[in-house]
C-alpha cells in the first residue's frame, strides 16, 4: 500500500488503525469471530476498496456491503418497464448514465437505444424538464432513481413542472428509502451484523434520527460517515468503541455536512410530492413494506406509471420477475456473500458483459471488487 501517497494524512490514518486495533483487543474479537460492520452506502463500498481499507484494517474487522446502490436493488421487472416506456414512439426517456447498461429480460436501455428508442442520458432531472419545455410534442419521462439523496431533486422538479403547467413531463418513480431494508436485514435471523456505517449524503437530507430504531430496537451501533478514507476509519473506530463500551447509539461522524434533523427544504418538498407505496420490490430482498415512494394524487399527472399504465400503475399487467440464472446478485446485495463468491463473477459477468447491475453501477459491490479487488481471477491464456 502506497500509504503516504494514498492518504492525505497518513499519520491520522495510522493513528486510527492502531486505535481500531486497541478496541478490537478490548472486545476480544478474532479472525474466527470477527466484528461485522455493514457499510450501507455503495459510495462507501467503493471508497473502502479504492483505498484498500478492507486490507488495512485489523483482520478481525470485516466490512459487509449493504444494499445501498439504488440501481443494483432494482428488480429486473423495473428495468423491463423502463425499456417498455423508452420504446414508446412518443417518449423521450431520460436516465442517469448508471442505469443505461443494466440488463433487463429483453434488453437494457442501451440496447433499446441502439434499436431506435429515444433514450438520453441526463445529469439532472432539471435537464429532463428543460427537454420537456423544448419538445412540447413529445412525452419526456424521467427515470427517477435513488435514495433520499436524489429524491428531493425529482420532488422539486415535479413542483416546478406543476407551476409551469407542463403536461408532457412525467417521472417513472423508483425512489426508495434507506431505513426499511436495514430493518429487513436486522430481522433476518441468518444475518449477523454487529454495527453499521450510515450513508453520509442520504443523512444530509433526512438527518440522523431515522436510524434511531437500529440502536433502540436492535441494540446495534450506527455511525453516519463521510467518504474520505479517514472518515470511514474514524466511523469504524466509533462503532468499535461503542461495542467495546457496551453502548448502541446513533452517532454522527460527518457533522460538517450532516445536520441532526436533515435539510428542511428537501424534506418539505418530498413530503409534498411523495407518499409511501404500500410495498415495493427490491432485488434480493423481495417486496418490502413502505420502502418505496410514489407521487401523491395531486401530482398524479406527472406519474409515468399512471400515465402509461405500467408497473404499479392502474391498469398495468401483473408482472413476473425471475432473475438471471446462476447469478447471486440477491445474496451479494444483502451482504450474505462476497461478490467473488458468485459463480458468475469474472466469468459470465464482467463490466463489459454484465449479468447484474452490481457489476455496472458505479456504486455496485461487484464493480468495486472488479476494479480494485485484486481478487479478480486471472484470465486464462
Amino acid at each position: 500500500m502506497k500509504f503516504a501517497s494514498e492518504f492525505r494524512d497518513p499519520a491520522l490514518a495510522k493513528g486510527l488503525l492502531s486505535a481500531i486495533a486497541g478496541q478490537v483487543d478490548k472486545i476480544g474479537a478474532s479472525m474466527d469471530q470477527p466484528i461485522l460492520i455493514m457499510e450501507i452506502c455503495g459510495g462507501h463500498t467503493h471508497s473502502i476498496f479504492r483505498y484498500g481499507l478492507d486490507k488495512l484494517i485489523h483482520p478481525a474487522v470485516s466490512f459487509v456491503h449493504g444494499p445501498g446502490c439504488p440501481v443494483c436493488v432494482l428488480p429486473m421487472a423495473r428495468v423491463d418497464e423502463a425499456v417498455a416506456l423508452a420504446e414508446r414512439p412518443e417518449v423521450i426517456f431520460c436516465t442517469f448514465g448508471d442505469a443505461l447498461r443494466v440488463p433487463g429480460h429483453r434488453k437494457s436501455l442501451m440496447q433499446a437505444r441502439a434499436a431506435g428508442a429515444d433514450v438520453r442520458i441526463v445529469y439532472s432531472p432539471l435537464d429532463a424538464l428543460e427537454l420537456a419545455r423544448c419538445a412540447p410534442t413529445r412525452e419526456v419521462v424521467f427515470f427517477g432513481l435513488g435514495f433520499e439523496t436524489t429524491t428531493p431533486s425529482t420532488a422539486l422538479s415535479v413542483q416546478q413542472a406543476a407551476r409551469e403547467g407542463l403536461t408532457n413531463f412525467s417521472i417513472f418513480c423508483n425512489h426508495i428509502t434507506v431505513p426499511e431494508p436495514i430493518k429487513v436485514l436486522l430481522d433476518d435471523t441468518d444475518m449477523r451484523l454487529d454495527g453499521f456505517i450510515g450513508p453520509g449524503h442520504v443523512s444530509m437530507v433526512i438527518g440522523v434520527h431515522p436510524y434511531d430504531f437500529i440502536a433502540r430496537d436492535y441494540a446495534k451501533p450506527i455511525v453516519v460517515a463521510g467518504f474520505e478514507p479517514t472518515d470511514l476509519l474514524q466511523a469504524a473506530l466509533m462503532v468499535l468503541t461503542q461495542i467495546a463500551e457496551g453502548r448502541a447509539e446513533v452517532e454522527n461522524q460527518y457533522s460538517r455536512v450532516v445536520p441532526e434533523h436533515g435539510n428542511p427544504v428537501s424534506l418539505a418538498a418530498m413530503a409534498d410530492v411523495y407518499e409511501r407505496r404500500p410495498s415495493f420490490e427490491w432485488r434480493g430482498l423481495g417486496e418490502i413494506d413502505a420502502s418505496g415512494l410514489r407521487l401523491r394524487d395531486r401530482y398524479r399527472a406527472f406519474d409515468a406509471e399512471e400515465k402509461f399504465a405500467v408497473g404499479y400503475g392502474a391498469g398495468a399487467k401483473p408482472r413476473v420477475v425471475p432473475e438471471a440464472e446462476g447469478c447471486a446478485c440477491g445474496a451479494v446485495m444483502t451482504g450474505r456473500i462476497k461478490p467473488t463468491a458468485c459463480p458468475q463473477f469474472g466469468k459470465g459477468c464482467t463490466p463489459d458483459m454484465p449479468l447484474g447491475a452490481l457489476m455496472v453501477s458505479s456504486e455496485g459491490a461487484c464493480a468495486a471488487y472488479w476494479h480494485y479487488g485484486g481478487a479478480r481471477p486471472v484470465p486464462a491464456g
Binding site: R8, C41, G42, G43, H46, S47, R50, Y51, G68, C69, P70, V71, C94, F96, G97, D98, R120, I121, V122, Y123, S124, P125, L126, D127, E130, L131, C134, A135, L145, G146, F147, T149, T150, P152, S153, L156, Q160, P199, H201, V202, M204, V205, G226, F227, E228, P229, R256, V257, N263, V265, S266, A269, S362, E363
Partner: protein
C-alpha cells in the same frame, strides 16, 4: 449519482426558478439552490455547495470542498459527473 460534487456559486442564473450559476471543476452549469437559500440568492455568490444531480444540497466551507473533490477524484466520480453534464448538454442542444 449518490455522491454530491462540490461547486462554487459564481452568479445568479434565474432568480424566479431559484437557479444559480455554479462552477464545478472548471465547468459552469446552472444549479437549483432551493435547498440552501435562506435569504437573497446573491448571498450565496462565492460560497461552496455540495451539488447532487443539479441541486445544491448543502453549503460547505472551501477546505471541505477541496478535500471532498480530492476524494471524489480518487474514486473517479468527478470525471463521471463531468461526463454526465456534457452528455446532458448534448441531449439539450439537440432539442433546442
Amino acid at each position: 449519482m449518490c455522491l454530491g460534487i462540490p461547486g462554487q456559486i459564481i452568479g445568479i442564473a434565474d432568480e424566479a426558478r431559484l437557479m444559480a450559476m455554479a462552477e464545478v471543476s472548471g465547468v459552469r452549469r446552472a444549479v437549483n439552490v432551493a435547498c440552501v437559500a435562506s435569504g437573497p440568492l446573491t448571498d450565496l455568490v462565492g460560497r461552496w455547495v455540495l451539488i447532487h444531480v443539479g441541486f445544491a444540497m448543502s453549503v460547505i466551507d472551501a477546505e471541505e470542498a477541496e478535500r471532498t473533490l480530492q476524494a471524489l477524484r480518487d474514486l473517479g466520480q468527478v470525471q463521471e459527473a463531468m461526463d454526465a453534464m456534457a452528455e446532458s448538454e448534448n441531449a439539450l442542444a439537440a432539442a433546442r
